[in-house]
């Protein structure tokens, strides 16, 4: 066995179809790039507005939420509504773009294996590429939204510190890891049980409301008490949304609202660890299930 390892060269007899997991994705990054490009091209085929849709959709969503929640339900702070949130529009939008990223990434990653079944059944290639490409495509759609957010922030007197920007990067990484991990998990499960994509849809609906996108974390703390609030906080999406509030919204206000205690010292590391653990779990499950993809699809 040992000599075999030593002699192992490119020209040895090898077992075909052996997966190297996410390392294969890195090795096949050119193919990953082409798959992402294909997805972006195909998505907007025959549409006049093309990629502008990825601005229009969140824009409309934002306006609707802002009017309904900020104005009608009184979340926005004003001279007549002192208890509201200052700059609620920015508060809302900074959370929404992150949730949109998560929703699109996980939703598409969960469908990616079944969706590419025709290929997976016929040609061997690292199958992890498909969920990873889905997350990547969503990241491409995320950046224009981020740009809009930054412009809006600049108009509102944004003055972030380096620490705040780093926190936002950590928030983005948390969501990217989490959606890749869950995407691998549900993408693989979907081959065996098509229920899994419906389950994901339900999960995504909950995700929007289970993190402080539209309301403030203090409301949760008041209602739930410390113990339940800690459980609420463990959700990586909650942590990521809070990092975005900390980076984009807080520096446009007078800073009096504050951020959840220990966000930097405790919750960001917790979020990173939880997401990394989910990624590991998703990856292990995927590798256990992928051997039978071709015959089950």
């Amino acid at each position: 066995m040992k000599t075999k390892l030593l002699e192992s060269t490119k020209d040895d007899l090898v077992r075909p179809g052996t997966s190297g997991g996410l390392a294969d994705v890195y090795r096949e990054r050119f193919l990953l790039k082409l798959l992402v490009r294909k997805e972006l091209k195909v998505r907007y085929r025959g549409s006049v507005l093309g990629i502008i849709w990825s601005y229009v959709k969140p824009g409309v969503q934002f306006v609707v939420f802002y009017l309904a929640l900020g104005v009608f339900l009184g979340m926005e702070q004003s001279s007549t509504n002192k208890g509201g949130l200052a700059n609620y529009a920015i508060y809302l939008f900074s959370g929404i773009i992150l949730i949109n990223f998560f929703t699109e990434a996980l939703g598409n990653a969960s469908r990616s294996i079944v969706g590419n079944g025709g290929l997976i059944k016929k040609i061997y290639l690292p199958r992890q590429l498909f969920p990873v490409a889905s997350v990547w495509v969503s990241a491409v759609h995320f950046f224009p939204q981020l740009l809009i957010l930054v412009v809006a922030c600049l108009f509102s007197g944004w003055h972030p510190s380096l620490l705040q920007l780093l926190a936002a990067v950590a928030g983005f990484v948390i969501v990217a890891l989490l959606s890749t991990g869950l995407g691998l998990l549900f993408g693989a499960a979907n081959v065996y049980f098509r229920d899994s994509e419906n389950f994901v849809d339900m999960l995504l609906m909950i995700a929007t409301w289970a993190s402080p996108v539209m309301y403030s974390w203090t409301m949760v703390q008041h209602k739930l008490g410390e113990m339940w609030y800690s459980i609420y906080q463990v959700n990586p999406i909650t942590i990521a949304v809070e990092t975005f509030h900390y980076a984009f919204w807080l520096p446009t206000t007078d800073g009096s609202a504050g951020i959840p205690p220990h966000l930097l010292s405790l919750w960001i590391p917790v979020g990173l660890v939880v997401s990394a653990a989910v990624l590991l779990w998703g990856q292990l499950t995927f590798r256990r299930l992928e051997g039978r993809f071709a015959q089950e699809l």
Binding site: V14, F30, L31, L34, K41, L119, K121, K122, I123, A294
Partner: protein, 242 residues
């Protein structure tokens, strides 16, 4: 001689019928998961196949005898239940025409995408691009979306990309029947050229005269078992006789 493909005692079972009802599944669970819940059958049964480098092998057999399944095991798409498969060098499969093609992309994009799917690097595709479209006779249509191609053009491009991957082992499943006469001749000439270069070929085709021209060795499969392995002419005779 060096071995290019080593298939040792592989078996593969497929599910014939999934769980019949929830009740049956429930009873099965209660009884401690005894026996099999679903009916299975052997698509491949204790198949051995050793192919030396440079050999040209035809897989023959009637529909459903397991030819495609065996090719999928060689390419790594499927993993055997028992036994082992090992291959040497790059394996490229034309398991189905243009499996990696996307209708809404141009011919050019598809060449890159399919080339990468079949394991070529960016530099390799750049370098062979001209040669690929020349062989496919696509010409000015290279920037047209593939959905507007005739089925012949589509096949030619797919075939051309596959042969340009320079594989050591080339797997071909039922594709030679498609395409017009001149292109079919060209494909066959190309395949013979690959064989002459010492590449290993495993070909599945229903056109027995054709495979007899391309291959030297014939392996007959019947219900997942190898029933004959020898010269192509005897193999063809056996299949015709049966």
């Amino acid at each position: 001689m060096t071995t290019a493909i080593e298939v040792q005692g592989i078996s593969k079972q497929f599910v014939l019928r999934h769980t019949r009802s929830l009740k049956e599944a429930f009873i099965w669970l209660i009884k401690g998961r005894k026996g099999d819940l679903s009916e299975k059958f052997h698509a491949l049964k204790d198949v051995d196949l050793m192919v030396e480098q440079g050999e040209t092998v035809a897989l023959l057999g009637f529909n459903g005898s397991g030819k495609s399944t065996l090719l999928k095991h060689i390419s790594g798409v499927m993993i055997p239940d028992t036994g082992s498969v090992r291959t040497r060098g790059k394996v490229a499969g034309l398991i189905e025409v243009g499996a990696g093609f996307h209708h809404d992309l141009s011919g050019r994009d598809n060449v890159y995408l399919n080339g990468a799917i079949l394991g070529m690097t960016e530099a390799q595709i750049d370098e062979r691009f001209e040669s690929i479209i020349e062989f496919a006779e696509i010409g000015q249509f290279i920037d047209t979306e593939v959905k507007f191609y005739s089925s012949g053009m589509y096949l030619r491009l797919a075939f051309s990309v596959a042969v340009h991957t320079n594989p050591e082992v080339f797997l071909v499943d039922e594709i030679l029947a498609v395409g017009d006469e001149p292109f079919q001749k060209k494909c066959i000439a190309k395949i013979q050229e690959l064989a002459a270069e010492g590449r290993t070929l495993v070909v599945v085709s229903h056109d027995l005269d054709l495979v007899a021209r391309i291959c030297e060795r014939g392996v007959v499969l019947d219900h997942g078992e190898v029933t004959f392995d020898g010269g192509i002419h005897e193999a063809v005779a056996k299949l015709r006789g049966a």
